[in-house]
Symmetry: C2
Subunit: 437 residues, 2 copies
Amino acid sequence: MLDRRTLLVTGAAMAASPALAAADKISGNENFPRGFLWGAATAGHQVEGNNVASDQWFLENLKPTIYAEPSRDASNSFALWPQDMDLAKGIGLNAYRFSLEWARIEPEQGLFSVAMLDHYKRMIQGAHARGLKPIVTFNHFTAPRWFAAMGGWTNAAAIDLFVRFCDKAARHLADGISHAITFNEPNILMVLRSVVLPPQVLEAQKAMLAEAARRSGTAKFTALNAANMEDIDAMQVNLIAAHKAAKAAIKAVRSDLPVGFSLSMFDDQAVGKNSIRDAKRKELYGGWLDAARADDFMGVQNYERNMWTDKGKLPAPKGAPVNYMGAEVYAPSLAGAVRYAHEATGVPIFVTEHGVGTTDDTIRANLIPAALAEMKRAMDSGVPVIGYCHWSLIDNFEWVFGYRVKFGLHSVDPATFVRTAKPSAAIYGAIASRNAL
Amino acid sequence: MLDRRTLLVTGAAMAASPALAAADKISGNENFPRGFLWGAATAGHQVEGNNVASDQWFLENLKPTIYAEPSRDASNSFALWPQDMDLAKGIGLNAYRFSLEWARIEPEQGLFSVAMLDHYKRMIQGAHARGLKPIVTFNHFTAPRWFAAMGGWTNAAAIDLFVRFCDKAARHLADGISHAITFNEPNILMVLRSVVLPPQVLEAQKAMLAEAARRSGTAKFTALNAANMEDIDAMQVNLIAAHKAAKAAIKAVRSDLPVGFSLSMFDDQAVGKNSIRDAKRKELYGGWLDAARADDFMGVQNYERNMWTDKGKLPAPKGAPVNYMGAEVYAPSLAGAVRYAHEATGVPIFVTEHGVGTTDDTIRANLIPAALAEMKRAMDSGVPVIGYCHWSLIDNFEWVFGYRVKFGLHSVDPATFVRTAKPSAAIYGAIASRNAL
């Protein structure tokens, strides 16, 4: 097996090397470092379908619910993952990021499924068979229903339960994993809190979670991405502790496996005097940047920039392209987030998500080369970036928004599950294939 | 596509033909009719594993439960069904009986999964690809958890819900099905009632079902094979109505598809004067034999004989081989059940289950040829039998007994899921391959 740590360090060193950067400029090419990871990302619950033992499935199908629609068959990737990997390989990628579904692997507390661990092992082997490095997320928001019914991450017992899951999964799977990500966007609720959601949304969520608890016969039902505001800070303490303990558990199985987490990050820009930018960074990223200092890499997931004045956020500039939420699509935001992430942590950066939710694929097709060019400039200036995973390989279930929101390089027919490449897939694939802009 | 009705009628006519029977005797061969179905049977919940949206899974993992252990990964046949079919083909069978899991296809009320219907379509196509006729059971005891939480078959609304499921499944799958079975052993609770279970077992079941209802926030939780004694008669009325309506729904999609149900049947023998045998037959089989008169065939599932005196059942004769329950293994019982089933209904008989739960495979290896020889004698005397499915292809989850009870022609390693043929597999396969004893 390839020594991935060596590869990782070499790649980072190459990117950081002024000599190589100069050579690139002289030859006029825009090569990325050898071994740079070009991937696309998905998450189990969003693509697999029928994740019926999970907390999310339960919430989606509850009355009342804040979900626009249930996830149902999603993109049917539980069956069609070989097709998904063929797509990734077909457009020229060398990595595929996907996640394990804890609810499948431990559908009842303490009851672990070898069959489901075998399923993910087949996926890991399937990735290798296609020359794709498997980037594996151990938790992408979803958890088993029984876990959420215990209060989820509000309950300090969550740490040991997650560590036990990670230990079991690592023992079965770590051998073939290229990079392990413990948590996907564990700061998502801090991000949502900063958005100042309308009170009726928060009330609706509270009612949904109360009904979920009642139906479960427990006092509190909490999901990683659906919790009451008063619980968020306590959850963060447990999540950071769980990341550290889970990393140790994974490393205990395979010490040379690079392990990190992925943070939801903006390009936070200070506007004018007395900008609240630095305070907002603290609010959005909490203790995660500190935690990353001890990791092998940090995953950055960027979609937008925030322009912070002394009072709050500026609206999108007029005339700028916008995403499904009406937020500005700003190509340099990725590089901004990457630069800050490295500055704040000192570790190599892995862009584990970047993309745009839009039904207009020309926005995506324009965004990708522009964002990568800015990211390359950051790399040339010394920021070690080991890879880039576009979110997402295929259209999928976008949580509370349902299927209306489209992030895919490929569309998915909801009746036949047939995947069709959008023009952006070829544009991204061409960059990945030549490892150069 | 083969006209199966023609085949069925031809097969029955051949078996019933005195001329052919005489020819067989003259030539000394013991041929079964051309096209006779030689199969092995399984059921979704018992072999697939992780049927987490089902009523059974919920009951198995409940506290209190009457299940010895939960089904967990079962035989992992949700993933390994191609291996199972290879086994069936490999020993020389030409049919495979399996069931649809309603809980996978309709995990929430009214929410149908195309992905899961596609899964069963792949199985049907996989059977044809191997020259195996797919015998498909639409309901093999299990139902979705939401269905049981409505009271299951105690609720008259169950009929329309089951018919809707059968309609959806038939539209997706009927094309490739050889024979459709609506219900597997819908009389199982009448059989269990006749056994006179110890009161503590019935109390434990009552407690389990009460807790299931409480956890579901409903008044009554009832499964087809786990219900309180006072509900059994009302359930039978709904089940018989559901069979008739489901058959009509399936026929509406494909009128030439043979449809029936499978009954748990004993070889009920009258011993002495004033035997209660006939009354017991009424008690065990209820209105099902009448219902079968209008069907294309009747499925017979036989494991034992009952010797009825004027008071009750005689114990097993001393020295007879016994099964896991200590009941007599009596090879002619199958022929006895088949003869009576045809006499009572007038329709062709399909042996959809027959076998023995034992860890001593020599008992199984002896039973199969002996039972088939008696069945052949019944056929030679004019009873039309269209096929025989041995229960079971592989060791699996035997409901409340868990994994301790072994019915398989093949064993399954619980950790690796590796299947290994027992000697009985070759003995049965040789008979099937030569279509003769």
